[in-house]
Symmetry: C2
Subunit: 324 residues, 2 copies
DNA sequence: CCTACTCCTGCTCATATGAGCACTATAGCA
DNA sequence: TGCTATAGTGCTCATATGAGCAGGAGTAGG
C-alpha cells in the first residue's frame, strides 16, 4: 500500500502536472531509473487508469482500436451506454455524431457529397451551420424509402444551410435497365451533378449489409437479382456499389442500372465518412473498411466490438489510404 | 470533437501503450512537436483524467497534496466516502490504515515506539503479523482513558505478535509533580524503556488538539494548567509534548510532570507516523506537521482538506526532515 | 563455506524530448 | 495595397529518457 500511494503521487506529478522524471526523482530521493520503473509498473499493474473526458458520447478506446486496426484516419464509436434503444434512436445518435463531425471539419473549400440513407438524412437535419460549400447528391433517391420526411430535399436543405450550390439528383436510384439509366444520367440537372463527382473533397455515405433490411438497395431488387449478387460474394453496399468480404469492389449487373457515383470516383474522395451501425452490419463494415475507401467510420459500440473481432480474426493487409 | 478523439487516441498510445512521441507522429502524419502540443493541451484541458486504483480506501490526491505541502514522506488520507460515520468508526478506519502501513514498512531491524492514544491502540489490535522487533512504549498510561479494553497491555500484545522485546511503561502519563515523575523515571522497568528512546527507528503517535475532548492530556489537567498552557500558545499535543501554531515545541511546566519521550528524542526518530483525524484537529495537525517531525501523516479526507487550506493560507518555510 | 541464481540497482550511450526561436499564413485594419 | 497582430508550425540544441548491461545484495542448495 505504501508503494501504491507513492506510485500514485509520482504518477500524478508526472501525468497530470507534467513533471519530468528527473524532477520527481529528486523530490522523492530516488534515481530517475527507479521513477521510470515505478511508473511502468503502475501502468502495467493497472494502478493508474487513464481516462478521457470526451466532449461527445464516444468511446475513445474502441474508436482508437478500430482506427489502428483498419488504418483509418479516425473512428467515432457511440459509447456503449448510449448505444441501447430502438434502431431509430441509434440512428439519431449516429447521425448526430456525423453532423457534429461534418460541421467541425468542413471548410469553405470543400465539395461535400451525400449518399442516400436514413442516417445521412438524420445527419443533414441536425446540421445548422456549415461553411459555404457545394453539396452534391451521390446517388438517386431510393424509391422504397420513406418520402414523407421530405428526404428528397436533403441536399437542397443542406446547401441552404451552407449557402453553397446544390447538386441534387431528382431521379430514382435503382432503374429498370441500363438504357433508362444512361438516358437519365445525361439529363441536364443530373449530368451536372455527376460532373461534380471529380471535385468532391468529402463524402458521407452509409454502409449496407447485403441482406434483407440492412440495405435499401437490397430491399429494392428482385429476389433473383439479390441472389445473383449474393452468389458473386457481395457482403456490403455503399452508394449502390458492392464489395466482397475482402473489400474488393464487385462489378455486377447492378452497376448498370443504378444512378450513383462509381466506386472509383468514391475511392478518389479524400475524406469518406462512412456510417455503419447496428450489429448485423458488422461484416459489411469490416468489408468496406478493408476496401481502404473509408477515412472516418461512425458506428456504435456493439458493432465496433464485432468489427474489431473480424479485423483480428482475419489478417489485414495494410492498404493505407492516400496521403496517410 | 474530431480533435478530442484524435487527442484521446494519441494519449492512449502515449500513456497506456507507452509509444514514443516520434512513433505517434509518424503514425498520425504529424510532427513530433505537434504531438507534444496535443498531449500538453489534452492535459491542460482536462481531457485526460488519471485515476488510481488504490489497494486501500485512501485518496491519493489529497494525500499527495499534503505530502507536497508539508514535505512529508507520505500521507495516507482516508477517502471521503469512508470518512463518514461516528468517531469510533473513523478511528477504526484510521487505525486500520496505520496497521496496514506499519505491517508493510516494518523490518526486523526496526525499534518501534508507540504513544498512548485510542487510535494507536486500535492499530495494534489490527496488526496480526510483524517482523521480530522491539516495541517501546513512548509515554505513560493516560489514567482517564478507558482501561477496560486492556489497552495497558498494548505494547506487550504487539511485542507478542512481533516476537520481539516489549518495553512498557507501567505508570501514569500525567503525575502530580516533577519529583514523583523523576522518581518513577528512574524505576527499573521504566528507566529501561526510556533508555530505548535513542534507538527508535519508527514511532506511531497521535496528534491532539489543545482543547476539550481533542487531547487526553488536556482532559487530564486542571483548568488552571490548561489555561496557562493555552496562554503560551499551545495548539497541538503529541505524546504529552506541546507545539505552538508554527510547530515550535513549547516548554511548559507540563514537561516536568509527564512520563513521556522528550520532544527532542521524538524528533530524532527517522520515521514518525502521526495519526490525526477529525476536523477539529486540523489546526493541531497543521501545527505538528510544521514542526517537521512527522514523516507520515494518517488522517481523514475532511481533516486533510482543512489542513491543506491552512498550509496554503500561511506560507510554509521549507523545513525538510533529515535525509530527505 | 561456496556457487549459482534471482532481484534490484544505477550506469553508459544512443535516442527522444522540450524550450525557445524563427518562419509562414491568415486576418483585421488603415 | 501594406502593416501589424496572432496563431500555428517546425527548426536547433541542450536536456531528459530508455535499452541494455554490469555490479551488488540476498538466498537456496550443495
Amino acid at each position: 500500500m505504501a508503494e501504491a500511494v507513492r506510485a500514485a503521487s509520482i504518477a500524478r506529478r508526472y501525468y497530470l502536472q507534467g513533471a519530468t522524471k528527473l524532477e520527481i526523482a529528486e523530490e522523492f530521493g530516488l534515481s530517475r531509473f527507479k521513477v521510470a520503473r515505478i511508473l511502468d509498473a503502475a501502468r502495467e499493474d493497472g494502478l493508474i487508469r487513464v481516462e478521457f473526458d470526451m466532449p461527445a458520447p464516444v468511446d475513445p478506446i474502441l474508436g482508437d482500436d478500430l482506427r489502428a486496426a483498419y488504418g483509418l484516419e479516425r473512428a467515432l464509436v457511440l459509447e456503449r451506454a448510449t448505444s441501447r434503444g430502438p434502431r431509430t434512436e441509434l440512428r439519431r445518435r449516429i447521425g448526430a455524431l456525423a453532423a457534429r463531425l461534418l460541421t467541425e471539419i468542413a471548410t469553405d473549400r470543400d465539395v461535400i457529397g451525400l449518399s442516400w440513407a436514413r442516417s445521412v438524412n438524420v445527419m443533414t437535419e441536425l446540421i445548422d451551420t456549415l461553411p459555404r460549400c457545394p453539396i452534391v447528391q451521390l446517388c438517386g433517391v431510393q424509391a422504397g424509402m420513406d418520402m414523407r420526411d421530405r428526404s428528397v430535399e436533403t441536399v437542397s436543405r443542406l446547401a441552404g444551410v451552407s449557402g453553397g450550390a446544390a447538386y441534387p439528383i431528382f431521379a430514382p436510384l435503382v432503374l429498370p435497365d441500363s438504357r433508362t439509366t444512361e438516358i437519365l444520367r445525361r439529363q441536364p440537372g443530373i449530368a451536372e451533378t455527376f460532373s461534380q463527382f471529380g471535385n468532391l473533397t468529402k463524402a458521407v455515405v452509409s454502409i449496407g449489409a447485403w441482406e434483407a433490411g440492412e440495405s435499401t438497395v437490397y430491399d429494392a431488387l428482385s429476389q433473383a437479382e439479390r441472389d445473383a449478387i449474393s452468389k458473386r460474394g457481395a457482403k456490403a453496399e455503399v452508394a449502390a456499389r458492392l464489395y466482397d468480404a475482402e473489400g474488393n469492389p464487385l462489378s455486377t449487373g447492378l452497376a448498370h442500372h443504378v444512378l450513383a457515383i462509381s466506386a472509383e470516383d468514391l475511392h478518389r474522395v479524400p475524406e469518406v465518412i462512412a456510417l455503419g451501425y447496428s450489429p448485423p452490419k458488422a461484416e459489411a463494415v469490416d468489408a468496406v473498411l478493408r476496401s481502404g475507401m473509408v477515412s472516418t467510420l461512425i458506428t456504435d459500440a456493439e458493432t465496433a466490438a464485432l468489427t474489431l473481432e473480424l479485423a483480428t480474426r482475419r489478417p489485414l493487409q495494410p492498404r493505407p489510404r492516400r496521403g496517410q
